[in-house]
């Protein structure tokens, strides 16, 4: 249906041109407010929001893909300063993106509040007067009957009331209206959107998100310094972290081995963990990719995995100068992984090892090693060796800053690099630096730990919003009239309806009503003579 002239916009959009060109500040403010809360502005702001969201999908975003940002900056050096000024790496928190949606929501509130009052009034008002010429309405039927006009009207009222219409008698006609729920739904929908936005914002202040790599056998304790990285909301405080501990007992990974098209693709990750909370017995729990573990107000997700090598480094005298489990970061689907060992207590120079772990090593025709299957079928660990200063300050466990170091083994130097495997676990470091021993290879799990107390609120508002949306889109709002004219003992019955908003069933509603009315009258009196439906 096209929209009737009394659709809501007409109350809020003033089509008259501004008559007085010299406006005072108050008039200007009123004019600006009216513009901002008009349907046209709402539409333009929605389209602006859609367009403004696009760049964030073209350029990597700091929040979702920090590494992407780094490589984008490296390959588009000329544009970095412009992109920084335009906040293109943080589109969704940028000033301009925020401006658009804040304006949109201001417009929304400015639009909803007057409509709310309008609607409350409409809910109490009687249905409008019967138009003089019903025949001009979009859905119209006539019929003739004999008998009492009052009886015909009363019967019509009974039928309409049963169809949940609100009624008002005007002389020899009945005016009826239904579907107020449509506008109610619309208001609930728009208000619900505001609720979603506010709960996302306020809730965001209480969240924290942290990452931690845990190798098999290791234990994670929920304390701020135990996280590899943690980002916290505005209202995060010392008491935000509830105490608990998670020990990774094993991480089982299954790979496809039969389907050649998908050989080596992971099929399943299962982390078996033991959790411990104050005052409770240890519990055995499982974390899987789509099944996070809920504990201590947080959800713990299994988001990544890889291999970790247990290594011991001794100096020339046989004293242990490093012992520990070193995570190797996966580089490809067959889990060729990169790892770094930093031996700060080596003397006189500090010692650094950089190398690869190949779970299923094969020698390529070039002579280089590669992995061709992600499981541990033929593991080999190789290292290049550096001596010098590891540098001070916070250390990234995955990279070795070689600026203060000299490479002493591994290509391109002439000394061969270190190669270790379970069958051949010990290698001698060059220049009498000592030995390295591979004590074993295990898996690590990359855990993401999230705390978001706003989820319930957001979810609740989303449910309300969707309910409002469906109500407002699917419930028809219509007015219906029945008019009875007594023409010398013959009753002329007129039925007409008007849609408010979209109403595909308008004509059918009039036809059904007319038919039911005829049958009801017929049951009470004699048969009713029908006139073909007039248009």
């Amino acid at each position: 249906m096209s929209r009737p002239s009394d659709a809501f916009e007409s109350g809020f959009e003033d089509p008259r041109p501004v008559e007085n060109p010299r406006l005072g500040p108050l008039e200007w403010a009123r004019w600006a407010w009216r513009q901002l809360t008009s349907m046209r502005t709402a539409l333009l702001l929605l389209l602006a929001l859609a367009i403004a969201a696009v760049p964030g999908s073209l350029i990597p975003q700091e929040s979702a893909d920090p590494n992407g940002v780094i490589s984008w900056k490296a390959s588009n050096a000329a544009f970095v300063s412009i992109a920084d000024v335009l906040q293109l790496f943080d589109v969704y928190t940028s000033a301009w993106f925020s401006a658009i949606y804040l304006l949109l929501f201001v417009s929304l509130v400015g639009c909803v509040v007057p409509r709310l009052f309008h609607h409350l009034k409409a809910l109490r008002a009687a249905p409008p007067r019967t138009p003089a010429r019903l025949g001009r309405l979009p859905a119209y039927r006539t019929a003739e009957s004999e008998g009492d006009a009052e009886h015909a009207l009363a019967t019509g009222e009974r039928l309409l009331r049963r169809r949940r219409y609100r009624l008002q008698r005007y002389g020899s006609s009945v005016s009826a209206e239904r579907g107020y729920l449509r506008e109610t739904g619309n208001l609930v929908f728009h208000t619900g959107l505001v609720g979603v936005l506010i709960s996302v914002f306020v809730g965001g202040g209480f969240t924290y998100t942290g990452q931690r790599i845990v190798a098999t056998g290791q234990t994670f304790v929920n304390e701020q310094q135990a996280y590899d990285t943690i980002s916290t909301g505005r209202f995060f405080g010392d008491s935000s972290l509830q105490p608990y501990a998670i020990t990774l007992n094993s991480l089982a990974v299954k790979y496809e081995t039969r389907n050649l098209a998908a050989l080596g693709e992971p099929i399943d990750y299962t982390a078996d963990v033991t959790t411990q909370q104050p005052g409770q017995k240890p519990q055995k729990r499982v974390i899987k990719v789509n099944e996070p573990l809920s504990i201590g107000g947080t959800d713990v997700y299994l988001l990544g995995n890889g291999y970790a090598a247990k290594l011991t480094v001794r100096d020339a005298k046989g004293k242990v100068i490093f012992g520990g489990t070193v995570p190797f970061r996966p580089q490809d689907n067959d889990l060729t992984s990169l790892g770094v060992v930093k031996v700060g207590s080596a003397s006189p120079k500090q010692l650094g090892l950089v190398g690869f772990l190949y779970p299923t090593a094969v020698r390529q025709t070039t002579g280089a090693l590669a992995s061709n299957f992600p499981d541990l079928l033929n593991p080999i660990v190789t290292f290049s060796v550096y001596t010098g200063s590891l540098g001070s300050g916070p250390q990234n466990v995955y990279t070795l800053d070689t600026t203060g170091m000299t490479q002493v083994a591994g290509p391109p130097t002439k000394t061969k690099g270190i190669q270790l495997s379970p069958a051949d676990p010990v290698a001698i470091l060059p220049d009498g630096l000592g030995t390295v021993r591979l004590d074993g290879i295990t898996r690590f799990a990359a855990l993401d730990i999230h705390h978001d107390p706003s989820q319930g609120w957001v979810g609740g508002f989303v449910v309300i919003t969707v309910a409002g949306l469906i109500t407002s889109l699917l419930i028809p709002r219509r007015r219906m009239w029945l008019k009875v004219t007594d023409e010398d003992g013959v009753l002329r019955l007129e039925y007409a309806a008007l849609a408010r908003g979209d109403d595909p069933a308008l004509e059918r509603a009039v036809a059904d009503f007319a038919e039911e009315h005829r049958q009801a009258l017929e049951a009470d009196r004699g048969p009713v003579e029908r006139v073909p439906a007039g248009v």
Partner: protein
């Protein structure tokens, strides 16, 4: 790995595409025949539809809802002449093609031992199946045969791209996709996409029809696009497109929400502006704009028609370009990069 079941699925799909091609030709013939029919009734039809347009325009100004009355009844009601053999053939062939298509889809699901919408090839296959299915279903209630050529043409193109560009052998689901949310989220997305497709097709016809109406109203009687004389008025088309889009929008809203819930299960946050999330959001906002446009002065008619098509353009872009070329967490295409 190509299993015999999968091979049979491909065979059925190719046969279905053959039948769709036949249906396309028959629908096109039907349209051509309509146009010559219209020519036979030349002046009468032209003047009647011009009159209808004029009166629709008048009632529009009054703000009335007179369009249903003003539309020539012959095109809205059941078809006047049953001699439209081409259309009947087209429908029969389309129906048989759809059954084969359904078979292809089900076999693919059995071959993979899971729902057949876990990568772009399967998404396209199931999506087009649902487009044709909804179209056939709608035909039992409204005479939308004038859309047949557009729908079958579009489905053929989509299936062509899918079989040539997206086809991948059956493979197991990576752990991130092993979730009943795959079943819900993706299926609702497919349904929403199908409704958006139908709505977009109607809007496209609406825009062409509106152009023709403008030409006629301007008094140029030489009606060159005669075949549109038997198609409903642009106002009526706009209403149909709107109703179909409403269903699409509700489904898309569920897609968005189900996606957020799934993301919360799989990645630990319900919203992170991943590229796919961004585009799902963009589509949602454009269609919200479209729903607004119908209630905004100056945007009814052509404005809303164009917005609907822009929304659909974003749907196609999201599926065809974002999946394949954009980087993000949603590694969904099944194509290796």
């Amino acid at each position: 790995m190509t299993t015999p079941l999968d091979q049979l699925s491909v065979l059925l799909l190719l046969s279905a595409m053959g039948l769709y091609a036949v249906a396309f030709v028959a629908f096109a013939l039907d349209l051509a025949r309509r146009s010559s029919e219209a020519q036979a009734m030349a002046d009468e039809a032209a003047s009647r539809s011009a009159g209808a347009t004029a009166s629709a325009a008048v009632s529009e100004v009054r703000g009335g809802v007179a369009t249903l009355v003003a539309a020539p009844p012959s095109v809205d009601g059941p078809p006047r002449s049953n001699r439209r053999t081409a259309a009947r053939v087209a429908l029969a062939v389309l129906t048989v093609g759809w059954v084969l298509h359904l078979g292809a889809d089900v076999l693919r699901g059995i071959a993979a031992a899971r729902v057949p919408w876990a990568n772009m090839y399967e998404f396209s296959m199931t999506g087009t199946l649902i487009i044709v299915g909804i179209y056939l279903l709608a035909l039992t209630r409204v005479d939308l045969r004038f859309l047949g050529a557009v729908i079958t043409g579009l489905v053929l193109v989509l299936l062509g791209i899918a079989t040539v560009g997206f086809r991948v052998a059956v493979s197991p689901l990576p752990p991130a996709l092993q979730s009943y949310w795959l079943v819900i989220h993706v299926f609702v997305a497919i349904l929403g996409t199908a409704f958006f497709t139908l709505s977009g097709a109607v809007s496209a016809v609406q825009l062409v029809q509106a152009r023709r109406e403008r030409v006629l109203a301007a008094g140029r009687t030489a009606d060159r696009v005669k075949l549109l004389a038997t198609v409903p008025t642009s106002t009526r088309l706009e209403n149909i497109a709107y109703r179909v889009a409403i269903v699409g929008f509700i489904l898309w809203t569920f897609t968005l929400i189900a996606g957020a819930i799934w993301a919360n299960h799989a990645w630990g946050r319900y919203w992170g502006w991943d590229t796919k999330e961004v585009w799902t959001f963009i589509i949602w906002v454009i269609y919200a704009g479209y729903l607004h446009a119908r209630a905004t002065r100056g945007w009814r008619g052509n404005g809303s028609g164009w917005l609907n098509l822009i929304g659909y353009g974003a749907v196609l872009f999201n599926f065809g370009v974002v999946n394949v070329f954009f980087h993000g967490l949603h590694a969904y295409s099944g194509l290796s990069s």
